[in-house]
Amino acid sequence: MRSLMIAALGLGLATPALADWQQTLEAARGQTVYWNAWGGDARTNAFIAWVGEQTEAKYGVKVEQVKLTDTATAVTQVISEKAAGKDSGGSVDMIWINGPNFLSMKEQGLLHGPFANDLPNAKYLDLSPNSAASVDFTVPVEGYESAWRLARFVFTYDSAVVAEPPRSMAGFLDYAKANPGRVTHPDVSNFMGATFLKQALIEFAPDQAALQLPVTDAAFEAAASPLWGWYDALRPFMWREGATFPENESVQQQLLNDGEVDFGVSFDPASAAGAIAEGLLPDTARVFVPEGGSIGNISFVAIPYNAANREGAEVVANFLLDPATQAHQQNIEVLGSFSVLDPSKLNVEAAALFAALPSSPALPKLEELGPTLLEPHASWMTKLVAAWGERYTK
C-alpha cells in the first residue's frame, strides 16, 4: 500500500481522495476498532481475529470483536448512546450488518457516511446502480456500508440419509408428509428463519415485481396467501409439530448433526464443507438450492455516526475488500464464503489467488447454485415476521 502511495505521489497522480486516505491511515494508526459481529460461528470469529492481526501489522489498527448474539443488540446500543446524548466517542466502531438493521439505522441517521465508495479497494467492486453491492434488500446503500462477504441461501443435508432432497419449497411439503418431524426452520424472530419464509414467499408469490416495492396491506395479502396455504399444510408435519423452533441456523445445524432433523439452512454455500472440516457435520454432508434459485445478498460493514475509532474502522473496511483478503476468506479451510469482488475487475495476480484455492466435494460450484433471487424490500420482512407471529405465536 505504502509503495503504491509513493509511486502515485511520484507520478504526480495524488488525487484528493488518495490524499484523504493518507490522512485516514495516519489517524487510524494506534486505534482499536470494536467490531460488533454475530459471534455464534467459530470460523467467522477466527477470521475476524486474523483480520485484526493483519491490520495491526500493516496499519497499526487493532480489531476487537464484540461478539453479539443478535446484530440488533449493537443497533440498540447506538440508540441508547444517542438517547444519552453521546454523539461522539461511541462504543460501537463497526457493525456486521444488512437488511432491516441497516434500513433502521440509515433511516434514523445513526450511520457515518457516505464513506464506502471512497475506499481505495472499492474499485474492485461492481458498484453500478442495481448491483448486489449497491442495493441492500432493495435499500440503496449510498456509501453508508461497505461489502465484505457474499451470502446465498442454501440448504444443508446429509447425503447418506436423504437420497434425493426436495427440488422446491413446495417439495418440502411432500417430503415432510413422507417423513414427519424431519423438517424445521430457525425461529422466525431470527434472520435465517425469516429468510426461509421469504424463500417460500418468492417461490409462491404471483407478482414478483411487487416484492421489490415497499409493502402495502393489499400487496401483502395477495403475495402471502399462497404462502400461508403451504405453511398451514406443512406445519403439522414439522419437527415438534411446528410448536417450537431452533433458536438460529447454528442450533438447527446441531440438530442436523444429531440426526434430529434432515435439513439445515445457511447463508453460506461453503457451510457444509466448512462444518465437515470442523467436525460439526458428517463427511457426507452436502448443500443444495431449490431449482428456481435462492435468495442472495451481501453482508456489509457499517460505521455508527458516533464511532470513537471511525478512521480505524474505515481502514478495516478497506482491508476486507483487498483481493488477498477476499481470497483468504474464500479459502474453504478458512471461511469458505464467496468473494464480493467483481472478477472482471481483478488483475492477473489477484485472479491467480482465487484460482489457487483448494476445493472440497461438499463445496458447490458456482453454476450449481442456480440464479440469485433478489431480496424483497426490507419492509416485507418486517411485515412477514409480524404476520407470522400473529398467525402462529399463540
Binding site: T69, A72, T73, E81, T244, N257, D258, P282, E390, K394
Partner: protein, 566 residues
C-alpha cells in the same frame, strides 16, 4: 459508640448511593420509555400506547402464563422437595458432607448447567444415546419435546437443580439454630412419626428463617433469562426472554413496549412476593387446624422418601449434565447414537488465544475485585452494627437485598442509558460496580449469621487487655472468622462469575467474560467450544471454594481449636 454510628453512616451512604439510587434511576429511565418517552427514537409524548402495544404483541398472554407457571411452580416444588430431602437426611449426613455434595451445584453457573442439561435430555441427547439403539430401537432420534417443551417442564427441572441445593444450604444453616434433636425426641415420645415431626414441628420453625432466600429464589425464577433461552420454549418464550428479544429487535419501535414489559416484569415479581406473603396467614391457619387434629400417623414417611428420591434424581441429572460438558470439551465427532465420542481432540483447549484466555482473565479480575469490595463493605457494615450495638433495622435488611429481589431487566437497560449519559459505560469498572450490586447481598447472607454467632467473650477479653476497636477487629474477630469469611468470598466469587445481564449491559458488550461468551456460543452450534467455556465457568467457582476450604486449614494448622466451629 460514635465510631460505630459513623461507620454505619458511611456504609449506609455508600449503599444508598451505590445501590438504591442507581436502581431507582434505572427504573426511572425504563418507566419513561414504558410511558412513551424515548427521545432517541423520536418518541417524546407521554402515552399509554406502549402498554396497548405490549398487550397486543403475539404470544404475550402465553409468555405471561409461562413465566408464572415456571417461576411459581419451580419455587414451590423446590421448597417442598428440599424440605423433604432435608427431613430425611438431617442427622444422617453431616452438614459438612452435605456442603461438599452441594458445592458443585452451587458453583456451576446457570447457563453452564442448562447447556449440559439440554444435551442430556434432548431426544438425541446423552441419555437417549446411552440407551439407543439396543434398548429403545431408535436408530434416529424420536420427535419428542423433552427440552424446550411448551409447558416449560425442562426449564422447571433446570431451575430445580439450581434452587434445591441453595435452599438445602440455607435450611441446613437455619436448622443449626434450632434444638432439632430434643424436639424430635419429644415428638417421637408423644407418638408422632419421624416424618410428621418434621412437617408439623420443625419446618414451621425453619420457615421464618429461610423466608428471604425463598423470595430471592422466587424473584430469580420469575425473571431468569439465560436458562430460559436454553431450556424454555421458544414460540413464545417466557416473558423475560421475550423482553430481551423485543429490546433487540431490528424494529426500534418495539423498544417502548419492551420497556413497558420490563416494568411489568418488576410488577410481577412484586405481586408474586406479595401473594406469597398474603398466603402465609392462610397456610398458618390450615396448618394449625391440621396440627390440632393431632394425627400421629407414619404416613408422611413415604412422602419424604419420594421427595428425597426426586431430589437425588435431579442431582444425578445435574451431575451428568456437568460431566457431559467435560466430555464434549475433549470430543471431536460425537454423533447419535454413540454413547461416547467417536473421536477425541484437545483443539478447544489448545487455542486459548482465540477466545477463552482473555475471557478467563476478565472473569478473574472482575470476580476478585467485586468480591473484595463486597467483602470489605460487608465487614464494615457488620462491624458498624457491633459497635453501635444495634440489631439490623428492617429497612436496612430490605436495602441490602433489594438488588436480588427486583428483576435485573427492569432497571439495567435504563441504567445503561444513564451511565452512558454520565460517560462511564463500557468499562471494567462499570461491570465491577454492577456486579457488586448482586455479590454484596450474597456475601451478607453468608457472613451475617457466623458473625453474630461469634463468641463475644474473646472480644471482651481483648478489650479488657486494652485492645481498641480496630485492633479487636484485626487481631481477634477477623482471624476467628476466617473460615466464614473465606466461604462468603467464595460464594461472592461464584455469584460474580455467573453474572450475565449486568456484564452484558454495563460492559456495552465489550467486556467478555466466560459467562457472556458461553451464552453467546450456546446460540452457536459447537458444543465442544461451549464445553470448554462451561467447564472453565463451572471450574473457577469450584477452585474458589477449594481455596476457601484450604486457607483456614493452612492458617489454623497449629490452632486446632479454631478449625472447628464458626
Amino acid at each position: 459508640m460514635n465510631d460505630g454510628r459513623a461507620l454505619r453512616a458511611v456504609v449506609a451512604f455508600a449503599l444508598m448511593g451505590g445501590i438504591v439510587l442507581p436502581i431507582l434511576a434505572g427504573f426511572g429511565q425504563t418507566a419513561r420509555a414504558a410511558f412513551g418517552v424515548l427521545p432517541a427514537i423520536g418518541a417524546v409524548e407521554w402515552s399509554l400506547t406502549p402498554w396497548a402495544q405490549l398487550f397486543a404483541l403475539p404470544g404475550f398472554g402465553t409468555s405471561l402464563r409461562l413465566t408464572l407457571v415456571t417461576g411459581l411452580g419451580s419455587t414451590l416444588l423446590a421448597l417442598a422437595l428440599a424440605a423433604g430431602f432435608c427431613a430425611l437426611m438431617h442427622g444422617r449426613m453431616a452438614q459438612s458432607a452435605m456442603g461438599r455434595l452441594l458445592m458443585p451445584f452451587l458453583a456451576a453457573p446457570h447457563a453452564a448447567l442448562a447447556i449440559g442439561l439440554a444435551f442430556l435430555l434432548t431426544p438425541s441427547g446423552w441419555i437417549a444415546r446411552l440407551l439407543s439403539p439396543w434398548a429403545t430401537g431408535w436408530d434416529r432420534p424420536p420427535d419428542l419435546a423433552t427440552v424446550n417443551d411448551g409447558w416449560g417442564v425442562a426449564l422447571i427441572v433446570g431451575l430445580l437443580i439450581k434452587e434445591i441445593p441453595f435452599l438445602l444450604l440455607v435450611m441446613g444453616s437455619a436448622l443449626g439454630q434450632l434444638p432439632v434433636r430434643q424436639q424430635m425426641a419429644a415428638g417421637r415420645a408423644l407418638g408422632y412419626g419421624r416424618g410428621v415431626v418434621w412437617v408439623k414441628l420443625i419446618m414451621p420453625q425453619v420457615y421464618p428463617l429461610i423466608r428471604l432466600p425463598i423470595f430471592i429464589v422466587l424473584a430469580f425464577a420469575l425473571s431468569v433469562v439465560d436458562m430460559a433461552i436454553i431450556l424454555g420454549p421458544s414460540n413464545p418464550p417466557t416473558l423475560a426472554v421475550a423482553i430481551m428479544r423485543w429490546f433487540s429487535a431490528p424494529d426500534t419501535a418495539l423498544l417502548l413496549p419492551a420497556s413497558a414489559a420490563a416494568l411489568l416484569q418488576a410488577v410481577i415479581v412484586a405481586a408474586a412476593i406479595g401473594a406469597w406473603i398474603g398466603a402465609e396467614p392462610l397456610a398458618k391457619r390450615l396448618g394449625l387446624w391440621w396440627l390440632r387434629r393431632g394425627g400421629r400417623g407414619h404416613r408422611a414417611e413415604p412422602g419424604l422418601l419420594a421427595a428425597s428420591s426426586v431430589v437425588l434424581t435431579l442431582l444425578v441429572l445435574g451431575a451428568l449434565a456437568l460431566v457431559s460438558l467435560l466430555v464434549w470439551s475433549i470430543a471431536w465427532r460425537w454423533s447419535f447414537p454413540q454413547g461416547l465420542p467417536q473421536s477425541w481432540s484437545l483443539k478447544g483447549w489448545m487455542t486459548p488465544g482465540s477466545g477463552w484466555g482473555r475471557a478467563f482473565q476478565a472473569t478473574l479480575v472482575i470476580g476478585v475485585c467485586a468480591t473484595a469490595a463486597s467483602l470489605a463493605l460487608a465487614i464494615a457494615w457488620l462491624e458498624g452494627e457491633d459497635r453501635a450495638r444495634r440489631a439490623r433495622a428492617t429497612w436496612a435488611q430490605a436495602l441490602i437485598y433489594l438488588p436480588l429481589l427486583v428483576p435485573q431487566i427492569g432497571f439495567l437497560y435504563g441504567l445503561n442509558v444513564l451511565f452512558l449519559r454520565l460517560g462511564i459505560s463500557g468499562g471494567m469498572l462499570a461491570v465491577i460496580w454492577a456486579q457488586i450490586l448482586f455479590v454484596f447481598p450474597y456475601v451478607m447472607i453468608a457472613l451475617s449469621d457466623p458473625w453474630r454467632a461469634l463468641d463475644c467473650q474473646h472480644v471482651r477479653a481483648a478489650a479488657a487487655l486494652g485492645a481498641g476497636p480496630w485492633r479487636r477487629l484485626w487481631a481477634v474477630k477477623l482471624p476467628m472468622l476466617i473460615r466464614p469469611l473465606m466461604v462468603a468470598a467464595a460464594i461472592g466469587f461464584a455469584v460474580s462469575v455467573a453474572q450475565y445481564l449486568p456484564t452484558l449491559f454495563m460492559g456495552a458488550g465489550r467486556v467478555a467474560t466466560l459467562t457472556t461468551e458461553a451464552v453467546t456460543l450456546a446460540s452457536g452450534s459447537d458444543r465442544r467450544i461451549v464445553g470448554v467455556y462451561a467447564v472453565l465457568q463451572a471450574g473457577l467457582p469450584f477452585i474458589a471454594y477449594g481455596i476457601a476450604l484450604m486457607v483456614p486449614a493452612f492458617v489454623y494448622r497449629n490452632r486446632r481449636g479454631l478449625s472447628g466451629g464458626a
